[in-house]
Symmetry: D2
Subunit: 101 residues, 4 copies
């Protein structure tokens, strides 16, 4: 089962600057060989369910190891059985509607 996932990891108890933790998560996705793209409020990740979820768990492990005693994460995730859809397809589909109008 393929999944498109949008992840936002928020470390607590480490002050207001969280970018080094976010950077560490980017390295987790890269090391896992997963397609991923960061945006302002999270990171889009694409892949097989088990691979993507293993990376999410790894992020928590890494961020705790870096010193964050508490993490509050939010995830949006989509699966579909009717057809395959990549990240790029999804954006293109909306853009086509915008240009047509």
């Amino acid at each position: 089962m393929k999944v498109l996932l949008d992840l936002c990891v928020v470390p607590l108890g480490v002050g207001v600057s969280v970018s080094e933790y976010i950077a560490a998560c980017q390295r987790v996705f890269k090391d896992a060989g997963l397609m991923h793209e960061m945006h302002m409020y999270g990171t889009n990740i694409e892949g097989e369910w088990d691979d993507v979820m293993a990376a999410v768990k790894k992020c928590h492990e890494v961020v705790h190891k870096m010193g964050a005693p508490r993490i509050s994460t939010t995830i949006r995730l989509g699966t579909r059985t009717d057809r395959e859809q990549t990240m790029e397809d999804k954006i293109k589909s909306v853009e086509q509607k915008l240009f047509r109008s």
Copy 2:
């Protein structure tokens, strides 16, 4: 690693009534022996990371099997290394602050 997770599964392509799919997910959590409690906009689940995540995956599999071609799920999840905290602790902690004020 223990996790407190808040799950909201939204099946698409099956009309506006989604309660039978939510009910099916409740059965997944029950069958998995996981502490869980439904609220208006999701279900709180508590347990070991791998057990909870296996149940989330099972929900997607079940809901697709019931006929939903597409699912959009949102998750909030918290882990902490400083101390253990159960669902009940979390609610109590806020209530104490409310009663004291």
Copy 3:
């Protein structure tokens, strides 16, 4: 437009214990006269769109005033035009499916 909203306010830069901030938000909802119910990972709130959103804004103002320099909030919210649905209806609808099965 009626809305059912699920709110989770996470203050950053104030350590790992956030329950006093959550308690302050509960008082905001109470003072606003909004139906609300706390769960493990958020609070369900029901009411007219503008009233509910004014309360969400008030929460941010109050939590900042209490000393949190940064807040990361997540919201799920539902609107529908086909019929009115209260918090209680939503839970009942799932429970009926569970008992029938």
Copy 4:
């Protein structure tokens, strides 16, 4: 109060293809003159709290008008009082950490 918001609008009861509704929301943000950028699983929007929230409400009104009887939306939103931060700053801050490592 400035806000950075990440919005994902999911129309229910209109089948599995939702891109025309997402496109309509993009037009709402553009007409409102708000900085916004679509990603795979939502849209980042930046601006004054009231302006951004008015646009979110407008999205729901437009999507209902287009025929969706039910909408389930998720939002992440951040405010901070310590300093101003734009969308671009946020991404840059993580990228600097990545390049340094």
